[in-house]
Symmetry: C2
């Protein structure tokens, strides 16, 4: 019997004990955003420190201006790779409490009418359930073979759900200690309940707030209407002109650095038979917006966006007021991909507006003018290939190389501060109700998640 087979048997035989440990952690209401739960956050961190020390790690709580970091080191065989594992022990608030079927901090294992077993609790997935898949896999390795086959540094923060204010300073202050060959991040999802995934694309983000200033004061629309520039009109017109009839952004230079999808990826995504009608139907829509000729997966995973997230100007109360306002404002964000640089994109965005201001109108920029580029793990990355093989071995189907339309700031920080790529492997499902009442994690996801990490650890350790 190979090492791996024996370790997997160990995982199966000890699933109840793994669950008990997870439930212990889930019982701690480590809500990072609410100062009332400060001690609970520390208790959750300490729980991890104690657990990791018990496994043979050299673990400690490290204070920050906010909630403490858990840092734990494990020395593997000489010459073995040294990786970083990242998770977070804090959770979102649980309200509205009345919408939970079971108390959020009293984890339950419930078999649904569909025969599927699920773990219900705040943090069941995000991120306690997910991070414990890696820790339980490590425990199985150690218990069964006496040690982990590689060196690993575990970093768990307690502020992910409240904006990670201490993360970047901590990474900067502990650069040498935390810079490893690759980061394993377990905070993402699977393609579907039977198909594992590695998230290889994260879109970047740039923000700007644009205010068009027209008349110096609000005007009576009777006396001035027709002759006076209305900043709402100017704002609407310029922002609308940024897009052509086929949904392409026509700001010169906007697509600089946007790559076409590699053929292999395009083919894999086509093969997913993604149900666009269902995706849109779930949000009450019938047809996609976006660039004509692109699939919904392309639009959300591999194409940039330019989105007005908010707009306001003039009279917004009940009833009517015949005013021409002095100002109108839009909050705009852009999702970035490939080599699209946030500074460049913000520059061409601003220029497009400045070039089109009617005589006498002005523009005011309200954003901080910051942003971060997208992230892409090349599909020939050796760590990625090993992880993909391990996942295929466990699930008996290839792992999908997924995109993620959003951003995961820690991945950006690992790149920028530690110069380290991230491997995003997780076992969540779209219906896990993250940040919502009745958050859950399928038992199968937890169980096979542990088994998946057992295999990934084995693959990554093999030179």
């Amino acid at each position: 019997m190979s090492d791996i087979a024996a370790i997997l048997d160990h995982v199966d035989a000890n699933l109840d004990a793994s669950l008990e440990r997870l439930f212990d952690l889930l019982r701690i209401p480590s809500i990072s955003t609410d100062p009332e739960y400060k001690a609970e956050c520390r208790r959750a961190g300490q729980w991890l420190v104690d657990d990791l020390n018990g496994m043979g790690f050299d673990a400690s709580l490290r204070d920050t201006p906010g909630h403490p970091m858990v840092v734990a080191h494990y020395a593997g065989p000489d010459g073995s790779p040294h990786v970083l594992f990242y998770g977070h022990y804090d959770v979102q608030p649980a309200d509205p409490l009345e919408k939970w079927n079971t108390p959020p901090f009293e984890p339950q294992r419930v078999t649904g009418t569909d025969g599927i077993e699920r773990i219900y609790a705040r943090g069941a997935n995000d991120d306690k359930g997910q991070l414990m898949t890696f820790i339980e896999a490590s425990r199985a390795w150690i218990n069964e073979t006496g040690r982990l086959p590689f060196s690993v540094t575990v970093l768990c923060e307690g502020e992910e759900e409240s904006g990670s204010p201490s993360l970047d300073p901590f990474l900067k202050a502990n650069k040498a200690e935390l810079s490893r060959a690759v980061a394993l991040v377990c905070d993402t999802g699977m393609w579907d309940p039977d198909t594992p995934a590695i998230s290889t694309r994260l879109r970047g983000l740039a923000h700007e707030e644009v205010t068009i200033v027209g008349p110096r004061i609000d005007l009576h629309s009777g006396f001035y209407g027709g002759a006076a520039h209305n900043p709402i009109h100017v704002l609407m017109k310029i922002l609308s002109d940024m897009r052509d009839g086929d949904g392409h952004i026509i700001i010169p230079g906007f697509y600089d650095g946007v790559p076409e999808l590699p053929e292999a990826t395009a083919k894999q995504w086509q093969g997913l038979n993604f149900d666009e009608a269902k995706f849109l139907g779930d949000i009450g829509l019938t047809a996609p917006a976006g660039e004509k000729g692109r699939s919904v997966l392309e639009m959300t995973w591999s194409r940039p966006t330019l989105e007005v997230n908010g707009i306001f100007g003039g009279y917004t109360g009940k009833g009517t007021k015949t005013v021409i306002p002095s100002e109108a404002t839009a909050k705009v964000s852009m999702r970035l991909v490939g080599q699209q640089g946030p500074d460049h994109v913000l520059k061409v965005f601003r220029k497009f507006i400045e070039d089109r201001l009617p005589d006498g109108c002005k523009v005011r920029w309200g954003g901080r003018g910051e942003g971060s580029p997208g992230i892409e793990i090349p599909e020939d990355n050796p760590w990625l290939k090993k992880a993909a093989k391990a996942l295929e071995d466990e699930w008996n189907r290839p792992a999908v190389m997924m995109g993620c339309g959003g951003s995961i700031p820690v991945v950006r920080s690992f790149e920028d501060i530690l110069g380290m790529k991230s491997l995003l492997v997780g076992f969540g499902l779209p219906d896990d109700a993250l940040h919502s009442p009745n958050e859950k994690y399928n038992l199968k996801c937890f169980h096979k998640g542990i088994r998946s990490w057992v295999r990934i650890i084995g693959e990554l350790a093999s030179a």
Copy 2:
């Protein structure tokens, strides 16, 4: 010496007494919108009743659900015309009080460093000063000749500054008593301090509130951005598409019933040498918006508008939120001219939007869908011609046939309920600070306003 010359001398000789009476009325803080001043409103109405009865009118206070109406009748010679005079005895609130140089309800006669004498008080112009020009002219006629040369019904309301809720029901209930040959309305302005004016065009108004509904819930712009319709984009695009690059509204049927300006009027307006640069400069602009090839006077006096008075959707707080909102709303108003029908204009406006909704997006209408057409007094109207002659006699220059970009609801009500045209003659100036601190009325406007009415009364009475 003609009657008129003698009456004008009487006006000049008794100006101080006229001012004393005006000051008495100005001292009453008849703020209609504030329930605390309810008794003061009644007191102002009663003051007018007493004054008119003293002059030989048959005057009384008439109760309404709000503030009372003043109705006063005077029977002129048999066979003489019977006109209605309209004014309002209520005023705007005076706050911010600290911005007044003199107490708002302690009227002062102040000679400025420019040598011009002005009356400062809330209501000095709007509308106590203006309505008293007519009453003092009537008094001069009666005192000098023993009677007025025509029959007149005076109607003064006390709710003009708070939306006139009782006006239409009162007109309907007293139709026979109030329907006269023509209404004289003294609530408008002069062209400049030396040039009298009659306002012959008032734009109508139609309102609608349009909400574009996209996704059924607010969405994360990372996960859905690119593929999901953003209702802010849809709203901006459709509203922008209503206007071409030259400022014309391209909604089919929008201009139905919009007349071209009569050549004579166009020529008169050109001759005014209106200072567009100053008009725009005063409001902080350098170039006009609106239809290319039209003058600012045309745009504000004789052309329709389509104006977004308010817009809101998505995140409008501080900072950023990467949301695709479920809805976005615009409050739209249209100024109407000529025969443009509000129902028709609202219909083609709604159709334009409905025709352009992307698949899966919906529209919700939030307005009451009401409106009123514009008003135009033809320049060959006999009352208008008489008034114009009288004004030219007094000011030694022709009265300008002005447009007014706004609406005066009472004129609409006189047309619709009483079937009566209005003659809009007033002596206000653009810098009179209506509704603002330090409202004023030039002494010359008051004095020559009285003299103007003396002459107009004479002209109107002459068969």
